[in-house]
Subunit: 198 residues, 2 copies
DNA sequence: TCAAAATGTAAGTAATTGCTTACTATAATT
DNA sequence: AATTATAGTAAGCAATTACTTACATTTTGA
């Protein structure tokens, strides 16, 4: 679907307002106002509020590109600890970029369960697959002790996700790059010490 | 406030329905029907929908009693690893007991930000305080390496919280006691290995 | 048993919301 | 310049929702 500039304005406004006020708490009038158009134009472009919301979910869906991080790193012979740091950093940056969308996924799970659960589950499962694959390959190379790579990946990414969620979404802060690095350093240290072979 | 049995029925029904459909997605008619009363009775008891919701937030607010776990354990000379397992277990059990309420906290943060953020932040901060205090005392006793107890506590509880959130809330499953134990065992192993002194 | 309290019945209000319609004006394209 | 496409104006509709009112019935407690 090729997007006109009006489409884009509407989608952006919808993303912003729905992430702030919820789907049911945001009126089509609000969205139109925010986009600088009339309400009737909104309906001309998207047909209904629900269709607009579906397009928002489709348009802003994302997957963190951890695969690419691992590829880059495999070419660079960086060690395990720094790899985890880079993965953590990339993951966190992605979360920050997509903050509004993540807010919507959390809060609209009841109103629009099918798509939000699908997107959220896919996000979790795919990112975990990549990281657990990496843990496995490091185990196979004899670098790591025996543990469940899938559960460890869930743990590692879960720590980061939860930290992000609490600070940025619950507390409404914006974490500085420095602070993120510090947090990731601490988490990675625990993970490295906790997963390396003796 | 002393609760009549009708009050309780209304509060329980509101908790259930709001956790399933959201605050705005749940009508006072729905709640009345679920409670087996008429809508006018609901207003007699609570005055408004908003007031009812406030009472739900007040009534179902909780803090996991990790302090008690630590007290019990300190009397029992249980080791660090088993302590973390018991803490993890108690925390997870609490999350499961309060699943509906936690769903509401996540999803209604935009509609009712002040109280939900307050409750959620308090929950995070208090539980972290208790666990980080325990980490500190173990460091002071010379058992653990140097790391930030606050950040480690955030990490540990964050892993559990995120795992719970994804499985029970996003994916809508109910995790078996066995499965929880296994997950906690894995997470604790990483943490124990990651925080013990060499 | 009786009076007070609690709840139900039935109807209604005002406001809000998503959405539509018809006509007009503006912008873009040929 | 003329035509087509896009957007605006103004008004309105039907449905829904939180809430209210007045009267009747049932339940509870003394």
């Amino acid at each position: 679907m090729v997007r006109t500039s009006t489409d884009k304005k509407i989608l952006e406004s919808a993303l912003k307002l729905i992430s702030e006020k919820g789907y049911l708490g945001t009126t089509t009038k609000d969205i139109a106002r925010e986009a600088g158009i009339t309400e009737v134009t909104l309906f001309r472009h998207f047909g209904s509020k629900e269709r607009l919301f579906e397009e928002v979910l489709k348009c802003y869906t994302f997957l963190p590109k951890l695969k690419e991080v691992i590829s880059e790193i495999e070419g660079d012979s960086i060690n395990y600890e720094n790899t985890l740091k880079k993965i953590g950093m990339r993951f966190f940056e992605t979360l920050k970029e997509r903050k509004s969308f993540i807010r919507i996924l959390s809060s609209e799970m009841n109103v629009y369960p099918d798509k939000t659960r699908e997107v959220f589950s896919k996000f979790i499962d795919e990112t975990n697959k990549v990281l657990s694959g990496y843990f496995k390959s490091q185990q196979n190379a004899g670098n790591l002790r025996k543990f469940s790579p899938e559960i460890a990946a869930r743990g590692f990414l879960g720590m980061l996700f939860c930290y992000f969620n609490v600070e940025e979404i619950v507390k409404g802060k914006s974490i500085s790059h420095q602070k993120i690095e510090m947090i990731i350093k601490e988490f990675v240290e625990i993970f490295v010490n906790g997963t390396l072979k003796d």
